[in-house]
């Protein structure tokens, strides 16, 4: 291997002045399977989109196959031999394998389709992946594994020198993952390079040769896969060294009490889709429970099933004092739950409505007599929460979209607090808000927990979870792998669980 196939150096990119990439670099050798990992917002996707021509870079250089390149469009990148594979299979089920493969680049002779040439082309292409089938038959008559191969073969074609796979396994089952890994090995054997983006650490060790780790828009580590341990990967990704940060004594003390109390929320062996496989956890009244895990470990999905926004497939969710399973958010709310979604814009605020209407959205039916909203009472409640939470706005009638992120978040928090809930699920409650508001929100949550509210908090910021929570469940690939309480809480323990998982210990804790 002389020169690398791809070399991106010193790549800078800003969005509206906010840096997304700072001198990021990525180097992929010929026939190398290269893992690219990092937390949410680390800059992986931006880097890839700059490579494939979705974005233009502000600075830096890209050398591909020995020549400097700068693709204006994704089509240009594809023409130069860079293919991207998406998560879903996108085929036309009733048409033949050949038609699916040659769709959009049909061979013609005398203005007519040259079927013989196209069949031959499809057969040769599939042969590269060790698939030998009758290419004249409809794609739907073949197994999923074959269909998947056809889809991949179509994406890669003959010319690809570099294939980018962005979280290719997140919607595949184990057998399909196996097929995909075979494809990767065959590509490698044919001298094609692969960039493999995934959050499932185990997978990286199965197929990747080297890894680039990104954090905060920078490339922080490049190493051969065999030289980094899983724990190294996690700590580098999160940017922490293995020093025990002291977990708040107050929170530690809190964990001591209430062990005998009945659980407010009891989740056992919950499974739903591919993201939630076997989650168990408990929340007691007055307790802040943290739900930790890497991106894609199933934290948000678990919360959504508990709240009834998505349906579980097996396992139980029991909220004390209410019977039956919860199938709709409205039922969850009636039995005393609240859920602050991680995506404020998409699932939180109603942008065109006022602060008052956003705050009372869930409460509104209780504020009405015979279906007519009692405006005076609503105003009174809203004024009280604006004051109590220190929401900075021009007045209750101001449109919520004009508020800062932190104040929007406080309004959404108030939406649940005014319902007087027993259990509050907070999904990334401090994402995208300034430091001051962050501290205020966390203090408020702590205060409410002291008054008996049960809180289940999801956060990607370890510090935050460790500081606030008195008990932490760690998820890994949709499974509860650790249950940490009291003195056991600390960054090393959480990161170890994220990296390796400690099923035995978790099981002991759950049964004991």
């Amino acid at each position: 291997m002389s020169t690398p196939l791809l070399s991106m150096r010193g790549i800078d990119k800003r969005f509206a002045g906010v840096p997304a990439l700072l001198a990021a670099s990525l180097e992929v050798g010929r026939g190398e399977v290269h893992a690219l990992i990092g937390q949410n917002g680390a800059g992986k996707s931006t880097l890839i989109k700059i490579l494939t021509g979705y974005y233009t870079r502000d600075a830096g250089e890209i050398l591909f196959d020995g020549a400097p390149v700068s693709f204006a469009t994704p089509a240009a990148a594809q023409a130069a031999g860079i293919s991207t594979i998406y998560q879903e299979i996108n085929l036309v089920p009733y048409r033949s394998v050949t038609e699916n493969i040659c769709l959009g680049r049909e061979s013609r002779r005398f203005g007519l389709l040259d079927w013989r040439a196209m069949h031959r082309e499809a057969e040769t292409l599939l042969a590269r992946f060790n698939v030998h089938v009758d290419v004249r038959r409809p794609v739907m008559t073949y197994s999923t594994a074959v269909q998947q191969m056809v889809a991949i073969a179509r994406a890669i074609g003959f010319k690809a020198k570099l294939v980018i796979m962005d979280e290719p396994t997140s919607s595949l089952d184990e057998q399909e993952v196996g097929v995909l890994f075979d494809v990767i090995r065959q590509l490698k054997a044919a001298g094609v390079s692969v960039i493999f983006v995934s959050h499932k650490l185990d997978e990286l060790y199965v197929v990747c040769d080297a890894v680039t780790i990104m954090r905060d828009g920078r490339t922080v580590r490049v190493a051969p896969m065999s030289e980094v341990s899983k724990l190294d990967l996690v700590t580098t990704m999160l940017g922490r060294r293995l020093e025990a940060t002291e977990h708040r004594t107050a929170a530690a003390a809190a964990s001591g009490r209430g062990d005998q109390d009945g659980a407010l929320l009891r989740v056992r062996d919950l499974a739903a889709g591919r993201k939630v496989r076997e989650v168990s956890l408990d929340v007691r009244p007055g307790e802040i429970v943290g739900l930790a895990g890497l991106l894609g470990s199933g934290r948000t999905e678990t919360a959504r099933v508990i709240f009834g926004a998505d349906q579980g497939e097996s396992g139980t969710v029991a909220l004390s004092g209410s019977s039956g399973t919860i199938k709709e958010p409205a039922e969850a709310i009636r039995s005393g739950m609240g859920f602050l979604s991680e995506d404020r814009k998409l699932e939180g605020i109603v942008p065109a409505m006022s602060v008052r209407e956003n705050l009372t959205l869930a409460l509104m039916p209780h504020l009405a007599r015979r279906g007519i909203v009692d405006e005076a009472r609503s105003r009174e409640i809203v004024d009280r929460f604006i004051q109590r939470l220190g929401i900075k706005c021009a007045g209750p009638e101001q449109r919520i979209r004009e508020l800062s992120g932190g104040n929007q978040q406080k309004v959404l928090l108030a939406r649940w607090l005014c319902m007087n809930p027993r259990l509050l699920i907070l999904d990334e409650p401090t994402r995208g808000i300034d430091v001051g508001a962050k501290a205020e929100i966390l203090n408020l949550v702590r205060e409410l927990a002291d008054q008996g509210l049960g809180v289940l908090m999801i956060s990607s910021e370890l510090e935050e979870v460790i500081e606030a929570a008195s008990r932490i469940f760690v998820l890994r690939d949709g499974r509860t792998v650790a249950d940490l309480q009291g003195d056991a809480i600390g960054e090393p323990a959480i990161m170890a669980a994220m990296a390796h998982g400690h099923r035995e210990r978790a099981e002991e804790a759950m049964n004991g």
């Binding site: 605020i349 109603v350 409505m353 959205l361 900075k392 800062s404 104040n407």
Partner: protein, 333 residues
């Protein structure tokens, strides 16, 4: 935190008059006033009781259907089936009061049923639209296209494609009668407009409609019963279409399943758009829809009264819609 500063009405903050914002807010009203002033100056015999009545009766059906359409659009949906539902109601009513389905013992019983049953049937079809959208998760434009196509067919099958001519004063009161010298249909329209405007502003149901249109996912996570609200909204749109269908056939003393409500969906959507309701949902004004329908009607009347052919009036109507939608976009940015 710079956002704390109150972005109140820009007119009060800056001395420069923000005409774009003003127009997008009150544009419909301004246009209507200008149209009336223009007519007073130019059109002969404009300021007469008769002109008012002619224009009111022309616009009633559009406004009544437009109110239902406004509610549907406020949830982020659309209802293409309104015209066909008008045809169904319009075909059913004469069958009932003329005793073609079951012979009516009494004229008044027949007329009473001819008011109630067709409207309820149209409402049920509207509810079916809502069911398709919420249960089968079909996009509103496609789901309501089903009845847009099938509805008129159903109406034709019911009447064997025949024109039904009738003269039943008691029934035709809805289209021809007067209450204190005002056409009854205009009174009905007024009641519906006021009722809907109040519902949208003051009731839980109304606010939930806007919350769904403003952000459906957030509304669901806040416990808003999205499915039932949507079904009710489409049912209301169906009920109102049924009423409009009865008005139209009563006015014409005839019911032709091929023609009743033809093109109504587009007139209603145009009225909603010109009135200033956001077509993506979340912001709606019933009074705006009334003004929008009046503008479209008055422009047509103005052109006709001044000797411009109807075909040309259509082009002007299209231009008004484009202008209205453009003004909306100005307000967004």
């Amino acid at each position: 935190m710079a956002e704390i500063a109150a972005p109140a009405r820009p007119a009060s903050r800056s001395l420069r008059f923000d005409w774009k914002r003003f127009l997008s807010r009150y544009g419909a009203l301004v246009a209507l006033v200008l149209l009336i002033l223009f007519n007073l100056a130019v059109t002969p015999n404009f300021a007469t009781w008769q002109t008012l009545n002619v224009n009111l009766t022309q616009v009633c059906a559009i406004v009544i259907v437009g109110v239902g359409m406004t509610l549907v659009i406020a949830t982020g949906g659309i209802d293409l089936s309104v015209g066909s539902l008008m045809a169904i109601a319009g075909a059913l009513a004469p069958l009932i009061f003329m005793g073609r389905i079951v012979s009516m013992p009494h004229l008044y019983a027949g007329v009473a049923l001819a008011f109630v049953i067709p409207v309820l049937v149209a409402g049920a079809f509207g509810w079916f639209n809502g069911w398709l959208i919420t249960r089968l998760r079909i996009q509103p434009i496609i789901a309501t296209l089903v009845l847009f196509i099938a509805g008129r067919g159903i109406a034709q099958v019911m009447t064997n494609g025949n024109l039904q001519v009738f003269k039943v004063e008691e029934f035709q009161y809805i289209g021809l009668g007067r209450l204190f010298a005002v056409p009854f249909q205009a009174v009905l329209m007024g009641v519906i407009v006021i009722g809907a405007a109040w519902t949208l502003r003051r009731t839980v149901f109304g606010r939930q409609i806007l919350a769904i249109g403003g952000n459906e996912r957030a509304a669901r996570l806040s416990g808003v019963p999205v499915v039932s609200v949507k079904r009710r909204v489409y049912a209301i749109s169906g009920l109102l279409s049924g009423i409009a269908g009865l008005i139209v056939i009563a006015r014409n003393s005839a019911s032709d399943a091929n023609l009743v409500g033809l093109g109504m969906e587009l007139d209603a959507i145009a009225a909603v758009a010109v009135g200033g309701t956001l077509l993506t949902g979340g912001r709606a004004t019933i009074v705006g829809t009334l003004l929008g329908a009046l503008i479209i009607q008055l422009v047509r009347y103005t052109l006709l009264a001044n000797g411009v052919p109807d075909a040309a009036a259509l082009v002007v109507k299209a231009a008004i819609i484009v202008l209205a939608v453009w003004l909306q976009r100005q307000n967004l940015s």
